[in-house]
């Protein structure tokens, strides 16, 4: 058994033990299991909200994006930072309302704000459809990391199944506490690994970070600035804005904010998280360095850049540590997603069919569903189905469609009616599905438009149509209601 394999196995076992012991002294009633009894202090909330930054998607995807595309990767740094600015104002009122009404999920919030159980079901469906592919992505990343870092000793399928089993176990036992405590270890490891790789690789191969960028700028002119067409400046700005709006619309991040003991946590986080985001910069350095050292990976293979350059540069013990870190970047977000998806099913879909379901039953059904969600996602990850890739592209655009009605609901006088909110979300989500299935871009839809419009992220169109539907339907239903009230 190689040293790399031992380290990877250790991290999985460590996550299991830590995750399961996180339950210590807490009875896992629904509110405790899903939102930690609303008693988390600053550090745990910080790690849950920051958890979104360091998933396998960032570990492999951010380095791969920098490796394959260059400048467009910068958007990842920018959107998180702006999302935290929004969170300063948005999260405290969400948190306060959720606490007052004892809400535990994101659909709960929409259903309560608009007094519409139907809207709750719709938001739950949107959430589940967005979450499952996201979980598949984490498992796929896990499989790749373990296979490469174990030098092929553990095939992808075994890694994915073991990962799903580990996460299911500790999620069932400890709920969100398991995610929070494993996130502590994950974030410490990833910071160490990212900073080490990001400084060492450019220094070793190119003689330093500035030397690396100079060489890269010379080897690939234009790679480090935005292109005139395609992934241009207009693409960059629209993508940053869209993803910044969508950031906290993910059901697991939205519900993670319910765990806080005080609202002040979110305000302080908005100061610290932009700095924390800087760690991603080092992941970029890895990708840029790899672009010079191990060129030739194209398309989705570019996600292998970090692992490939690591295997080329380091002895098995370091590769093992990188692999162990990679495993945690899949397991921790995976645990949040599994718990959230299972809770959405149980609390907002099953309970919608069976009125009067008690909290204990809801918790029981959710815990039973955790391994089911795990198996489904593991199946898609192992089979590598191409439909799932299409779903993945949709996930972020899906949750972003919840933003307009959420903001309306936070205003002093909510200008949106429940019909308006439903119409907006349905139109927005429908547009995303249509665009994804037809692989539309704005350039294809409006071939005559100026370049600045042609390159806009296609999600912009979905959001605009969403807002239009929300405004029109809200206007019509509100005036009809006013007329009825006047009679």
């Amino acid at each position: 058994m190689s040293i790399a394999l031992i380290l990877i196995a250790l991290s999985a076992v460590g996550a299991l033990v830590l995750g399961m012991s996180a339950r210590h002294g807490h009875k896992m009633k629904l509110e405790e299991w899903t939102v930690g009894g609303r008693g988390f202090g600053a550090i745990l909330v910080f790690l849950l909200l920051a958890g979104e930054i360091y998933t396998t998607f960032t570990f492999l995807g951010a380095s791969g994006y920098a490796y394959g595309l260059g400048a467009p990767a910068y958007y990842i740094l920018a959107y998180g930072t702006l999302a935290y600015v929004i969170s300063y104002f948005m999260l405290p009122p969400i948190w306060a309302y959720a606490r007052r009404l004892n809400l535990v999920t994101q659909p709960d919030f929409f259903a309560a704000k608009f007094a519409s159980p139907t809207l709750g079901v719709l938001v739950a469906l949107v959430g589940v459809v967005a979450l499952i592919p996201y979980l598949v992505l984490q498992f796929t990343g896990l499989g790749i990391i373990v296979e490469v870092a174990s030098y092929g000793a553990i095939p992808k399928s075994i890694a994915v199944l073991l990962g799903a089993a580990v996460v299911s176990l500790y999620v069932i036992v400890s709920g969100v506490r398991g995610s929070a405590w494993t996130a502590v270890v994950k974030d410490i490891l990833i910071i160490l690994v990212a900073v080490f790789l990001g400084l060492y690789l450019p220094l070793h191969y190119q003689g330093g970070i500035t030397a690396m960028f100079t060489a890269l700028d010379h080897a690939k002119p234009g790679f480090l600035a935005f292109a005139a067409t395609g992934k241009s400046l207009s693409w960059f700005i629209s993508t940053v804005l869209l993803t910044a709006l969508g950031f906290f619309m993910w059901p697991q991040s939205f519900a993670a904010c319910y765990t806080a003991r005080h609202a002040d946590v979110f305000r302080k986080n908005a100061i610290v998280l932009p700095l924390y985001q800087l760690v991603l910069l080092f992941i970029f350095f890895v990708g840029f360095s790899a672009a010079l050292v191990v060129p030739g990976l194209h398309g989705s293979a570019s996600n292998m850049a970090l692992l490939k350059v690591s295997v080329a540069a380091f002895p098995p013990v370091i590769v093992g540590i990188i692999g162990a870190t990679g495993v945690l970047t899949a397991l921790v977000p995976g645990s949040m997603i599994m718990m959230t998806a299972a809770t959405l099913f149980s609390r907002n879909l099953v309970a919608a069919i069976r009125p009067g379901q008690s909290d204990d039953t809801t918790a029981l059904i959710a815990k039973t569903l955790v391994p089911v969600v795990g198996v489904v996602a593991a199946y898609f990850a192992i089979s590598g189905s191409s439909t799932i890739v299409a779903l993945l592209l949709m996930g972020y655009s899906f949750v972003t469609q919840l933003f307009p009605s959420l903001i309306c609901s936070l205003l002093r006088r909510n200008p949106a009616t429940k019909e308006g909110a439903i119409a907006g979300i349905v139109v927005g989500v429908g547009t995303v599905v249509y665009f994804t299935l037809t692989s539309a871009t704005i350039a294809k839809l409006l071939p005559g438009a100026p370049e600045i419009v042609r390159d806009l992220n296609v999600g912009t169109a979905a959001l605009v149509l969403n807002i239009l539907a929300l405004v029109i339907v809200s206007g019509v239903t509100a005036s009809r209601r006013a007329a009825v009230a006047a009679e």
Partner: protein, 70 residues
């Protein structure tokens, strides 16, 4: 300091202004290509901006910072 929250617009403008005015890899900022260095600088400025908003925030300093009891 009722309108201190409006400062939050600054990061949105700043983040995009550099790439809009000068979409190029040179000159390097902090040893990094122009746009990347620009974004990093603005991440730092964003943090400072949020700290200033926090410091002067009337909601946070009010008797009811958790926003309960509405």
């Amino acid at each position: 300091m009722k309108y201190i929250g409006l400062l939050a617009i600054i990061p949105f403008i700043g983040m995009f202004l550099g790439p809009i005015l000068h979409n190029s890899s040179t000159p390097f900022i902090l040893g990094m290509p122009f746009i990347l260095g620009w974004i990093v600088v603005w991440m730092l400025i964003t943090s400072v901006t949020m700290a200033i908003i926090y410091w002067l925030d009337p909601v946070r300093l009010s008797a009811n910072p958790d926003g309960d009891g509405r």
